[in-house]
Amino acid sequence: MAALARLMVVGFIVLSAIYICLSLYSRAVRKGKLRAEWEEGAQDQPLEAFLEEGLEDYDKSLRRKLILSVYVIPVILVSVIIYLTNFA
């Protein structure tokens, strides 16, 4: 069981690092897209307000929650491997 605990701790740290990097990257991409959108559009509100509004929408979006699959997919993968190795 010590090995399981070690796997979970190391896995959690590594996956958290990936999760944080991916979140920051995805948010930066969204910000760039919003800025491009603002420059193309009517520019009827200041850039700061437009970006803030857009990122708030992004924070609530499904796309952002999908990044949580960084944690889910490895657990599913391990379960599938355990089944295939031991019970298939």
Partner: protein
């Protein structure tokens, strides 16, 4: 000289990565199981090539019983597999059914006169000098010495994914170097060349006087 060093470096890197995959990824052998046994092992050297050891309260490694499967391959060579749990450790096969596998292997025993051929999926290396054995993952009865072994989809997927990641990193690094490092280095070189020219010009002007 620098070229030789660079080639040696990259060939070593490729060899290390290739041997890592060769050790870790599953392979299938068609064999005839001749016998199975269990032996008390307490590997002190090359523990990397054995399963996780049981540890007593003081942290010392305890000797343990390890299952082995003795086989003869289709080409006539013998091959001995160990049969150990990988548990939650590396490599990530998550194998817990060692005793079941040993029962299956024992059931598939056959003689040279009436051979039954078995596909043994395993990872790892046999090395007589280091006394290390590949670890059997599964056994499966097959029709004859020709298999079928099956297409190693898992290996194909993992290696393709790995090469894709390496290529992605390499492309980004190259782009970064062309955009940022090369111009800077060139600017420094130009500066140096300019400075050298200035110095020799100044020396030349001194000589003229």
């Amino acid at each position: 000289m620098l070229g030789i060093l660079r080639w040696t470096f990259w060939i070593s890197i490729v060899a290390i990565i290739a041997s890592f995959f060769h050790y870790t990824l599953p392979q299938t052998d068609i064999v005839r199981i001749s016998d199975t046994y269990e032996s008390r092992e307490n590997p002190t050297k090359y523990t990397l090539f054995w399963g996780p050891a049981d540890i007593d309260a003081s942290g010392a490694e305890l000797p343990r019983d390890v299952f082995f499967i003795q086989t003869r391959r289709v080409d006539g060579d013998v091959m001995v597999y160990r049969n150990e749990d990988t548990g939650w450790g590396w490599p990530p096969y998550f194998k817990f059914d060692t005793s079941n596998l040993q029962a299956e292997a024992g059931d598939l025993k056959s003689t040279a006169d009436a051979p039954r051929y078995v596909a043994v999926k395993h990872y790892g290396w046999r090395n007589e000098f280091m006394s290390i054995f590949p670890n059997a993952i599964s056994v499966r009865l097959v029709a004859g010495p020709d298999g079928p072994k099956g297409i190693p989809w898992l290996n194909i997927i993992i290696i393709v994914l790995f090469l894709a990641v390496v290529y992605a990193i390499w492309v980004r690094w190259r782009r970064f170097r062309i955009a940022r490092i090369d111009p800077t280095v060139e600017a420094i070189e130009d500066d140096l060349a300019g400075a050298t020219g200035a110095v020799s010009g100044w020396l030349g002007s001194l000589r003229k006087k």
